[in-house]
Symmetry: C2
Subunit: 324 residues, 2 copies
């Protein structure tokens, strides 16, 4: 029998290459710039979609909505999406709900597109434009490489529309060094000791905060909540117990003033957050930093899962394709 988490471990090691492949695949498709973008996804892919929402709007200046699946599948909203591009993001391409959302968007006038890791899937076959992540089969139920590859594809689309050309080679090279770095034992310990964990981020790092929290829940079976730290101070901070673990992604110089004010408030509440983020990631263009910062977090979650005697390749109660 394979070591628990063997698939997850090898898939994290494949992330740097997957970034380069997915970015090129998205570029090669040459999507035309629409007047608006609506993104549909669930789970980890939904966090990639949220990252896409930030990076497309920031770089290309196009309005981007995260689609609400119930508006499409339950309420059949009469949304006028003429001129819009609807993108379904799904590793497997087999989540029925996402295919239904794309079909609704198409009826409402949008051009349907898909980002999947499965070019022969239902979703990829039914849309006008399909981007194949091409990152190889993902076996671990706890997704790692497909999440980062989806982010890379969406960033590549955004940079293309924004007529900017980031240094993908540099991102891949820094990523390769990151996956050879042993997991941070203090971070692993912080995850293990917590009754529950909050993961805080803002801006381009906010979707990664949600994603790390989801990984902790899936791989470690412990409750975690990802949150914008700007939202934390609007209420939830009153309920944060001193014995909870707080992880903070602070990838951006632009956010440092508000991050600093939050650190002071947390310290007053007896909470000393563990700051995530690789110094080497600061060498790349700011929107791309979350792709790299995902790596030490994924490695730490894998190590924590193993220390708990769990198997993130097949956690109890979860399957690779979720049908709700």
């Amino acid at each position: 029998m394979a070591e628990p988490g063997a698939a997850m471990e090898s898939e994290i090691h494949e992330v740097p290459q997957a970034i380069g492949v997915a970015a090129r695949a998205a570029e090669d498709v040459g999507l035309r710039q629409p007047s608006g973008v609506v993104l549909f996804a669930r789970g980890s892919s939904d966090h990639a979609a949220l990252y896409g929402r930030y990076v497309i709007e920031a770089l290309a200046g196009i309005p981007v909505m995260l689609g609400a699946p119930s508006l499409a599948t339950v309420y059949r909203a009469p949304t006028d999406l003429r001129g819009w591009l609807a993108i379904g993001v799904s590793q497997s391409g087999e989540t029925r709900e996402i295919a239904e959302c794309l079909s609704w968007a198409s009826e409402r006038g949008a051009t349907p597109a898909a980002i999947t890791n499965a070019p022969h899937s239902q979703l990829a076959r039914e849309v006008d434009v399909a981007i194949d992540l091409g990152c190889g089969v993902e076996r671990a139920v706890v997704a790692t490489k497909s999440f980062v590859a989806e982010c890379a594809a969406l960033a590549s689309i955004a940079y293309g529309w924004g007529s900017r050309d980031p240094d993908w080679e540099q991102v891949v090279e820094i990523g390769k060094r990151a996956v050879e770095t042993p997991p941070d034992q203090a971070l692993v310990q912080a995850i293990l000791e917590a009754e529950f964990t909050t993961v805080l981020g803002r801006g381009f790092g906010f979707p990664l905060a949600l994603e790390i929290a989801l990984k902790i829940m899936e791989a470690c079976g412990r409750w975690a909540t990802g949150m914008s730290w700007a939202d934390l101070v609007h209420g939830p901070i009153a309920a944060l117990p001193p014995q909870s673990t707080c992880l903070m992604l602070n990838e951006s110089g632009a956010l440092s003033a508000s991050a600093h004010r939050l650190l002071v408030r947390l310290a007053e509440a007896g909470i000393h957050p563990y700051v995530l983020g690789m110094p080497a990631a600061e060498q790349v263009d700011e929107p791309l930093r979350p792709l790299l910062d995902s790596l030490p977090a994924q490695l730490a979650v894998l190590a924590a899962s193993r220390r708990l005697g769990l198997d993130p390749d097949s956690p109890v109660g979860l399957t690779k394709v979720t049908q709700s």
Copy 2:
């Protein structure tokens, strides 16, 4: 000294009237239908904005984005918002960040509007169109009537654009009976017994799930997470401990099949959710049910807060106007 929660209690009792007043105020402004809507808010007002996102798209068929404040204030995204309406939602109208977001949206071509409970506030003064909720001073830090009034104003805009005319009088009348109904002691007990609470909703009820979770954190100092139940099954369900409390808003017949499947899965995991929602709310048009279902939840949170010896009118560490 006033009884703890005296302000919150009287403000919950003012909700039904506030619904009628806010709906009329929004109607009277006669906002022109835009090609898209972007909403900016924080905290409880952000949950009202999310409700607005569902109700406007469902009834009026207009694309609606929840604005990401960092895209406006930190990254200064070059978003093309010509023809769009940008609505800031803020009880006090004094959250600087929201005023900055509206100012950015206006520079990007949108018509700036505001929904506030303070017609002389910075936000209300700086926009082209201001809707005054007119629901009277809100003194409790834990907002109740302003949240529901904001939802009513947004619903009123959506119904107007959708050329539909709901029976607001019926909503107000059912609300008046709801606030005279004593809090459900089993619900209060469920909140008190939980280490942490998840509040599940979908569709029009999803924003209310987030709002109830926030009320529990603010008023009871206990961690709570609001979530779409469709998202729960995409991972977090693996981390839900049997001893946590799970509250479920199921207001819609259209959602009942997926809700039923979830109830079965939760039962298998040893969790028996407490189902929220007033039977009387089923008499009103579906999009308006969350306005009524908020009432028993607010009354239960108030009762739980008092049982914990806390004062939701001024919880430790929170203020009425948050500057991040």
